[in-house]
Assembly symmetry: C2
Homo-oligomer: 137 residues x 2
DNA sequence: GTTACTGCAAAGCTTTTGCATCCCT
DNA sequence: AGGGATGCAAAAGCTTTGCAGTAAC
């Protein structure tokens, strides 16, 4: 059994060919794809694939912790199969997103937490990616 | 002349009663309102106010640096008149957003920048606000 | 056999745009 | 006076939903 299938099962959801294709598309994907990116990719293998199935599956995966929804793009949701804590570099010109795995522990002082019970954190670094920086001149 | 009016002029945009109302609504506003929040608020004083005017004005203000657009809410854009670098606490249940002004310098090691030219950063802390934490039990 | 997923289409929301009119400078 | 903003409505883009048929368990 493929590793992807195995991991899928551990999520405790019904396994379908479409869902398997979506998970394989996400597997190790560092491009932070949008739902449409995933749809287009999976469409190559499943010409009858529905957009609704992509959204439904992503929502289920998100609930089960199989994918992380990122709000880093003003225009659309982005998805990240890497659900371990990490941060992101975002190109403000072309919207490219790159992972930043940092050991730096991000903590907030107790007196600034305003009574919140903090469960996670995320750092975003904005700037220009190498390609867009080159075009700038 | 009111301080708000004065600051508005320094942005170099045409001053209208509607725009003034929007800026006054934003002035010192710590609630990180959505466009609709602002629309509803301004509607009280300008019953003929158009949604398009709110969006147009927010876009102009954003370009001129008079307001910051936040992508911290999956459902809608949020706006923040505080354009000085600061971070946010976000309640994942009710979407309440609270400012975090921290002196902690947020920097990324050169070797993790992936060639990006970094122009800014933003930290998000997720969790439950006091009210939602109380309901949790 | 049941449960629940798929696919299609339509609807829902937020945000944008076109255009005629009006108003600030 | 002229350029730009307003207001209205319609459109656009992303995402969700209802439903009948179908596949996974």
């Amino acid at each position: 059994m493929k590793a992807t299938t195995e991991r899928y099962r551990t999520l405790g959801i019904k396994l379908t060919p479409q869902r398997l294709a979506i998970l394989e598309c996400l597997d190790g994907n560092k491009s932070h794809p949008s739902a449409e990116d995933i749809y287009k990719e999976v469409l190559k293998r499943f010409p009858t694939m529905s957009f609704a199935t992509v959204y439904n599956t992503l929502e289920v995966l998100r609930e089960k912790g199989g994918v992380q929804a990122l709000t880093i793009d003003p225009d659309r949701m982005r998805y990240d199969p890497d659900t371990m804590g990490h941060h992101h570099l975002i190109c403000q010109r072309c919207r490219k997103v790159v992972d930043v795995h940092s050991d730096v522990k991000v903590d907030i002082p107790e007196d600034m937490a305003h009574g919140f019970e903090i469960t996670g954190s995320h750092m975003e670094f904005y700037g220009l990616c190498p390609k867009c920086k080159a075009k700038e001149d």
